[in-house]
């Protein structure tokens, strides 16, 4: 294929359209070529290409050979997709690409070579995609999972945990536990019986850690996905062919105990697969048994779904599309952060409310979107969580807490934006030497500056942290933004805004003044 030649044709109006979705995992690149006809979907091709991105775990970057393998697999997928007249292709990369420090090089090579934009998604988006896939699958299988559901995807490089309650995705966390990763980590033991025991002990810690970081310790259902878990189900419950099947904890336990004394050859024979595949079943099995134990579930439910099902679900009519969580979900995530870091909730919520009021009333000035409004609200809610560590430099602590947190529903860029909006709520505005800020795309930098400028004004209205000012009416007059408040005594606010509105002046080219009730 010539550089950048991925051109996709459109189906005629009223006829089914063909799409392709690609999941670039740690040891396999998988693609569906599918046909969508209204709400119906049909998988035309289920493609699997072996790749090897394990250097990402061992050396933190991808070598030439690893990249060549991925580019080659992408070329093959694109060629197959073009043969079916595919009109839309979405390709995502997961943990191995998230961790490789040079994955941008690979993304660019793929774009140049085959004309596909490979999107490296964060774990939150990955969880959302699994959630979407599960939603579609439950609908299709007529299954109803009432109450709370902990859904865990055990991948090759990472494992994600999501909490679903009343059909809504509430929370997700991500752990550096993966079947391929564990194999790479302990492969020096692979020829000894220590391998199984060591992986098991490590899995115990991982299970504790993940479950401890989410609010529902005893969910009503435990759903586990991942190719190695599906293989385990096929091995232990060969008759289970349904869309979603229970994998009893006792069965996994018994199997695991049989594996304990076996050498790799005997293990492979017992599992009916090759030695490498058997070595990957071990961490999957270990994690499943510990998760069942800690959640108190007698079985895990194993659905026949993959990340690609989630990508396809996004393309069905009425789907919310990539990265979509409604704002209430994001606000719930922010409130969870507030609680975790012991922030003054009333103060945070009032600041957020003021920021949103100013945003809404200055729409003509900034022209930003509803989504960006949500980013502002989120940033305003969490802007002070850094004081949990230290009041001094709290804005910087806030930034890296956000950068390090599991936040379902924000894209990688959005998460960076939120971190920076919150960071710039006080002290220095963006500077040329702020490398993380400068690394953002230009448009994102502009949006961060607009929203941080608004947040600073809202922040300046409550330095007293007593929520004296709850309402604000904005007026553009004489080249200034006038903030009408329902208080007479505003000397403190005037003083505070004198220091906190400079960024607004720099960004919007107009000053900010507070107008007390008396002056109206």
């Amino acid at each position: 294929m010539k550089p950048g030649t991925a051109r996709f044709r459109k189906a005629a109006k009223g006829e089914p359209r063909q799409v392709a979705v690609v999941d670039c995992g740690t040891s396999e690149l998988r693609a569906f070529i599918a046909e969508l006809d209204g709400a119906k979907q049909r998988i035309i091709e289920d493609l699997h290409y072996p790749i090897d991105l394990t250097p990402s775990f061992t050396a933190e970057k991808l070598d030439r050979e690893a990249m060549d393998g991925v580019v080659q697999a992408f070329s093959a997928v694109v060629e197959a997709a073009q043969g079916y007249g595919v009109s839309q292709l979405r390709a995502v990369g997961t943990s191995a690409l998230r961790e490789a420090t040079n994955s941008d090089v690979l993304v660019e090579r793929i774009r140049q070579k085959v004309g596909v934009d490979l999107e490296i998604i964060d774990s939150a988006e990955e969880s959302r995609l699994y959630f979407e896939a599960l939603r579609v699958l439950l609908g299709r299988s007529g299954t109803d999972l009432n109450g709370s559901v902990v859904m865990i995807d055990i991948g090759g490089g990472s494992t994600s945990l999501s909490l679903i309650r009343n059909g809504k995705l509430l929370h997700s966390v991500d752990e550096h536990f993966g079947t391929v990763r564990q194999y790479e980590q302990f492969k020096n033991l692979k020829d000894s019986t220590d391998y199984v025991l060591t992986v098991d002990r490590y899995s115990l810690g991982a299970a504790k850690m993940m479950l401890g970081r989410q609010p529902d310790a005893k969910p009503d259902h435990l759903v586990i996905t991942g190719s190695d878990v599906r293989r385990l189900l096929a091995l232990l419950q060969p008759e289970a062919k349904g869309l979603i099947e229970p994998l009893p904890a006792a069965t996994v336990d018994a199997w695991f105990k049989r594996m304990l004394p076996l050498n790799p050859v005997a293990r492979a024979e017992a599992c009916g697969v090759d030695e490498h595949r058997a070595s990957l079943l071990v961490p999957a099995g270990a994690l499943v048994r510990h998760l069942c134990t800690f959640t108190g579930r007698a079985h895990a439910l194993v659905p026949q779904l993959t990340l690609r099902d989630g990508l396809l679900a996004d393309l069905l009519p009425g789907a919310h599309g990539p990265h979509h969580f409604d704002s209430s979900h994001l606000i719930a995530e922010a409130q969870q952060l507030l609680r975790r870091y012991g922030t003054d909730v009333a103060y945070a919520e009032n600041t957020a409310s003021l920021a949103v009021q100013i945003f809404d009333q200055t729409a003509d000035l900034h022209g930003l979107t509803e989504r960006q409004r949500t980013l502002l609200e989120f940033s305003a809610l969490v802007h002070d969580i850094g004081s949990y560590l230290n009041v001094r430099n709290r804005h910087k602590h806030t930034m890296y807490i956000i950068q390090s947190a599991d936040i379902a529903g924000l894209t990688k860029i959005e998460k960076e934006m939120v971190a920076h909006i919150a960071r710039y709520h006080r002290r220095s505005p963006p500077q040329p030497h702020h490398t993380a800020f400068q690394a953002l795309p230009r448009r994102s930098r502009v949006v961060v500056s607009y929203l941080a400028a608004i947040l600073r004004v809202a922040y300046g209205l409550d330095v007293e942290r007593s929520q004296r000012i709850r309402k604000v009416r904005c007026e553009l007059a004489d080249g200034r933004l006038l903030l009408h408040v329902d208080r007479r005594q505003i000397a403190l606010e005037r003083w505070s805004l004198a220091g906190n509105s400079q960024m607004f002046v720099d960004v919007f080219g107009m000053g900010v003044a507070v107008v007390p009730r008396d002056e109206e």
Binding site: E45, H48, Q72, A76, A80, Q82
Partner: protein, 702 residues
């Protein structure tokens, strides 16, 4: 069985036995004369290929030049046996020519005249022909101790001469290569009289050596080792690598020297030494060298009475149904039986796909393609019109490499995605897939064959072709193409079995299931028709099935190392071989699977024989036929073969074959004749229409 008797026949001897069966067709006086001459030519052409490949390899093993991976016998003993059998076969071939075919041709007014029988007028006209047309292109190659022995073209005819200078001095030798091309020269005067070009060269070559006297001369033909040695792992460009190797095939080691009987002894010894041959590699023929000339001789005879009547080829599907091939395939899957049913629908399908705007992609494997292939031309047209055309062209198809390279280059120029086979495997599967965006969505139209996409050989080889739009078959074929063209992992196959992945294990599973059923008191039954059985592991499976009581009928055209009908080993196995007007090339497999009244048999078509190379070193494809009507048709075709009492030979437990004859009062049952009738009947059958219900919504006009 006796422990002294081997468990398997020697494959080379089995191959020679097959070529002897071909010779029987030439010896059969009831056959039309031109056909008999062609069979003599086929025996010669078969022997050439056998010599270049099998004989060359065995010879290299016996001489310690190459180490076999797995060879159970003693190569030296086997080589001696093979040489003896080859010489005996050639003697019989030439006897058939001298005593049967040549005199009959004379009687029919067509004859090759040796120099001694030329009339004075003929001799003079030949001399003029020689001076004008031949001599200018001849280059005599003098050989003396200072010069290496010249490289003589593989399978070319040459003349060796011994000369003495008129001015005095010792004798010396020279070689003259006879120009390639038309070997037959029409003699002036009476029609139907021909001379051979090499005879003219032999007769008039003195003019090439002024100052010398020719004291000895003989014609000769050299055959060389024809296997290509390609280091695929390290070949950066397989195409140019094979091009280079092809030219070196002409330079492979000499393995056979053919001389006419009575050739000068001194010259013979000199040639054997110069070509580094053993005396046993020399074959003396009592007649013209290289009887493949009889192909051309047959073509030159304008005598319909000396040929088989033309084959009545059935056209199926009928033109009105085939106007839209895609609609016809959607209406129901079907089989074509070539050459009794025309090959043209395959060409039509590719051509229709090339022209149809709804077609998105065409994918095809090509193994042996004709020099002027309409299929490849259609693929080129499709690529030019912007469709995605993916062609896997096997550059390593033995003896067809040059043609394939030419097509590969032309396809690439047209914009097709061309893949030159796979490293380490030859792609022998015969697959065609057309991806079309129908109104109701994507549909894959599939054709799977047992034979090559070669319009010429399709008139001479018996093959089967399966057309379907079945979703499962389409999915499997698409997955196979993805594997072949893009490194993808194999899926769980539904309707295909694919070598080298699952084909062998599928055959083993099906054979064992029949054995299990037989052991359980249910009758086990296997019928298989294919070209060669040389895989020892499958033989062992069949022996075990036979021991369990499975009734097994094998219709094997060529090599068969299995010993049939041996008590204690293969009591229920029967082997027959069909040799006749067409080259038997079907690969059809039937496993009865009579487990219960509802269980269905496995009936399958394949590109593979029961040879280790097919099962382990080639990409082959078997497709199971699920449609009961088509299954019945295939079983019917196999039954016709089994009932044949004209072309069929029964394989004996000693490796010989006995030709069947209609018994007194028994009707003549020729499979060719019955397959002609079957094809006509099947073609006349209406489409088993399976109408697809489709609602057409009324929409408001825009």
């Amino acid at each position: 069985m006796s422990t002294a008797e081997p468990r398997y026949f020697n494959r080379e001897l089995s191959w020679l036995a097959f070529n002897r069966r071909v010779l029987e067709e030439a010896q059969d006086g009831s056959k039309p004369l031109v056909e008999r001459a062609k069979f003599l030519a086929i025996v010669g052409s078969n022997l050439d290929e056998f010599t270049m490949v099998r004989y060359a390899e065995l010879r290299a093993f016996a001489k310690g030049l190459e180490q076999p991976d797995r060879y159970l016998g003693d190569p030296k003993e086997d080589l001696a046996a093979v040489r003896a059998a080859m010489h005996a076969l050639v003697d019989d071939q030439y006897r058939c020519w001298r005593e049967g075919v040549a005199p009959a041709l004379v009687a029919a007014g067509a004859v090759v005249i040796p120099p001694g029988e030329w009339t004075e007028t003929e001799r003079e006209s030949l001399r003029r022909f020689y001076v004008d047309k031949i001599e200018p292109v001849l280059t005599p190659l003098a050989v003396d101790p200072a010069r290496p022995f010249p490289l003589l073209a593989n399978r070319g005819i040459h003349v060796a001469v011994q000369l003495v200078p008129i001015s005095g001095g010792g004798p010396r030798n020279a070689l003259v290569s006879v120009p390639l091309g038309n070997r037959l020269v029409a003699l002036t005067g009476a029609s139907g009289r021909w001379a051979l070009v090499e005879d003219a060269v032999m007769t008039f070559l003195e003019t090439l050596f002024p100052g010398y006297r020719v004291i000895g001369r003989c014609t000769l033909r050299v055959t060389r080792d024809g296997s290509l040695e390609i280091d695929e792992d390290h070949a950066t460009d397989l195409l140019s690598e094979i091009e280079q190797e092809l030219s070196s095939r002409e330079h492979g080691e000499a393995v056979r020297l053919e001389l006419t009987t009575g050739a000068d002894v001194t010259l013979t010894e000199w040639l054997v030494k110069g070509l580094e041959l053993d005396a046993e590699d020399v074959v003396h023929v009592d007649g013209p060298l290289d009887l493949t000339v009889l192909f051309a001789f047959g073509d030159k005879l304008d005598r319909a009475d000396l040929r088989e009547p033309p084959l009545p080829v059935a056209i199926h599907p009928p033109a009105d149904e085939w106007e839209d091939p895609f609609a016809r395939i959607r209406a129901g899957e079907f089989l074509l039986h070539h050459p009794y049913q025309s090959f043209q629908p395959i060409v039509d399908l590719v051509a229709a796909a090339a022209a149809d705007p709804r077609v998105l992609a065409i994918k095809q494997t090509l193994y042996r393609v004709s020099g002027d292939s309409p299929i490849v031309k259609a693929l080129i047209a499709a690529a030019r019109s912007g469709k995605q055309v993916t062609v896997l062209i096997e550059l390593k198809a033995r003896f067809d490499e040059a043609v394939n390279i030419r097509w590969a280059k032309r396809l690439e120029e047209a914009g097709a995605h061309v893949i030159y086979g796979l490293v380490g495997y030859k792609v022998h599967a015969k697959l065609l897939m057309v991806i079309r965006r129908d109104q109701d969505g994507i549909r894959r139209y599939i054709q799977i064959g047992t034979g090559n996409y070669n319009d010429r050989t399709a008139r001479l080889y018996t093959d089967l072709s399966y057309f379907t739009a079945n979703e499962a078959v389409g999915r499997d074929v698409a997955a196979l193409f993805n594997m072949l063209t893009g490194y993808s992992k194999p899926p769980e196959w539904e309707r295909l079995a694919v070598a080298p992945l699952t084909l062998r294990s599928s055959f083993v599973r099906w054979i064992r299931r029949e054995a299990e059923l037989a052991k359980a008191g249910k009758s086990g039954r296997i019928i298989a028709k294919f070209n060669s059985l040389v895989d020892q592991d499958l033989c062992d499976e069949l022996y075990a099935a036979s021991a369990a009581g499975v009734e097994i009928d094998l219709i094997v055209r060529g090599m068969c190392i299995l010993r049939p009908g041996v008590p204690g080993l293969s009591p229920t196995i029967r082997v027959i071989s069909l040799v006749g007007r067409f080259l038997e090339h079907h690969r059809v497999y039937y496993f009865a699977n009579r487990e219960s009244t509802t269980s269905r048999p496995v009936v399958a078509l394949a590109s593979a024989d029961w040879m280790s190379r097919n099962l382990d070193r080639r990409v082959e494809c078997l497709v199971r036929i699920a449609d009961e009507d088509l299954q019945d048709r295939l079983v019917g075709l196999l039954t016709i073969a089994l009932e044949d009492n004209v072309q069929a030979r029964d394989g004996q437990s000693d490796g010989t074959y006995v030709r069947r004859q209609p018994k007194a009062g028994e009707e003549r049952r020729s499979s060719v004749e019955r397959w002609i009738a079957e094809a006509a009947e099947a073609s006349a059958r209406p489409v088993a229409s399976k109408p697809q219900l489709a609602f057409k919504p009324q929409r408001k006009k825009a």
